[in-house]
Amino acid sequence: MGKADSVFEIIGPIMIGPSSSHTAAAVRIGQISLAILGEPVNEAIIQFHGSYALTGKGHGSDKAIVAGLLGFDAADERIKDSLAIAKQQNMKLDFQKVDLGDDYHPNTVRLLIAGVSGMHFEITAISVGGGNISIVEFNGLPIQLSGEYHTLITIHSDRPGIVAKATSIISQHKVNISTMNLSRQRRGGLAAMAIEMDQPLPPEAIKELEEKAQIVRIIPPIY
């Protein structure tokens, strides 16, 4: 955990225990994954790596992720009952302990989630301390987003123009970019981009982007 610059980083967050890194952060990973999916979760395979695999159960990380997938926040008293609530809603869940290798952060979770319409994504996230998280892969491509901002995520073919298109649309709507990152499988292959913004992008901007990219997701900041 880094230096606190607000009193509410010292006294806070208000959360369901027992662990900011293994419980509160896990809820957040679930919440952000739900926001990326953009529809209720029908099925989820949840893979715990490293410290999450070792101590996740005792920290309620399984319940916490599912709570997030149900749309609960880190202070929601229903977290401890989330598995039963998910069952009532016919959410299919499979928890796995995996070893993703030493290249992954000790607190890593990978989610394979499918929504009620059949839309599905693979999301890999890490817990970086104090309840903060980072999404580090989207459908297997490296990205970087915290969920603290309005965020645009695209998966597109690695061809000239998409970055220019995205940034020009963003600037046309007078939206300010706070962070931005881009990666690709290989030259000309699939590429992923995440842009964190200070303001929301209007829906018409998404339509324009959808003409250029295979996948476009917009998520609001999640607190």
């Binding site: 009193v7 006294i11 806070g12 208000i14 027992p18 005792g58 920290h59 401890k80 301390g129």
Partner: protein, 286 residues
């Protein structure tokens, strides 16, 4: 206005003739571009959650998910201790209780972390009940505590994985001691000594959670840390001074934290976690 040391906070408080808590609140409001009353209102919400956890901790039948903890706080709260002053005994039970609520997936306020969430609330409830302090002043004291925590995070750490338990329960105790000292009419300089005297007694405390869970020894250490806070506040209010200036003590905490082997920084590989019983529990629970 700006601060990154306790010395700067003491100087600002002295110059403006205000409690440290008011200074911390004013700076937060300025930084966040919000009114002080909005910021204060947010803290009121945190205090309400703290009070609920303080109450639950000694009244509910608590059991953690792992089964490793729960029930001690309620038991201790119901008894009159043999050695501690009864009010102090109640406060210690409440610190244990909040930490048990946390372990049992109840709602708490991280202060500064979830593992050390019982210390500051128990100290402030004690002040409110024993010293008859009004809620408004308690909220200000929470800002005093937060300012101390901010300085520790800037110059040392508030993460067990980085600095051991001294960074979590140690900092929480320092926050509580400073707040108690200010609430009892101590000067800003005395607040600084209370922080230093607490940290001196918490220096070197390792983070060795059994099975990696925030239960053993974390819950008990909330009680021990609160006792250190009471001691340091009383010493400082008597006029006893730390021979090492407070910001240098915080610097020492940083150095000690960095010198701790990784096995004693929340990895659950050393200390109590690595005892035969600790290893057996780990195998059983993971």
């Amino acid at each position: 206005m700006y601060y990154e040391t306790i010395k700067q906070l003491i100087r600002l408080a002295g110059r403006q003739k205000k409690p440290i808590g008011e200074i911390v609140l004013a700076i937060e409001a300025e930084q966040e571009n919000e009114s002080p009353s909005t910021i204060r209102g947010q803290m009121v919400i945190s205090w309400e959650v703290m009070k609920q956890a303080l109450d639950r901790g000694v009244t509910d039948n608590i059991r953690s998910v792992s089964g490793l903890s729960g029930g001690d706080a309620k038991l201790f709260f119901a008894r009159t201790p043999k050695f501690l002053n009864p009010d102090v005994g109640k406060a210690v039970a409440r610190a244990l209780g909040v930490a048990e609520v946390n372990a049992a997936m109840g709602k708490i306020v991280a202060c500064p972390t979830a593992g050390s969430c019982g210390i500051v609330p128990a100290a402030l409830l004690f002040a409110k009940e024993r010293l008859q302090i009004d809620e408004e002043t308690i909220i200000t004291a929470l800002f005093t505590a937060a300012g101390i925590g901010i300085v520790c995070s800037m110059n040392a750490s508030i993460s067990g994985a980085e600095g051991g338990c001294q960074a979590e329960c140690g900092v929480a105790a320092a926050m509580a001691a400073g707040a108690l000292t200010e609430l009892s009419g101590g000067s800003a300089t005395m607040v600084g000594h209370a922080v230093a005297l607490t940290l001196i007694n918490m220096l070197g405390l390792v983070c060795d959670p059994v099975a990696g869970l925030v239960e053993v020894p974390c819950i008990l250490r909330n009680a021990g840390a609160l006792m250190q806070a009471f001691l340091a506040a009383d010493l400082a209010l008597t006029g006893i001074k730390s021979r090492i200036p407070v910001d240098e003590v915080i610097g020492a905490m940083r150095e000690v934290g960095q010198a701790l082997p990784e096995s004693l920084r929340e990895t659950a590989l050393g200390g109590l976690a690595n005892t035969p019983t600790g290893r057996r529990l780990r195998r059983k629970l993971t």
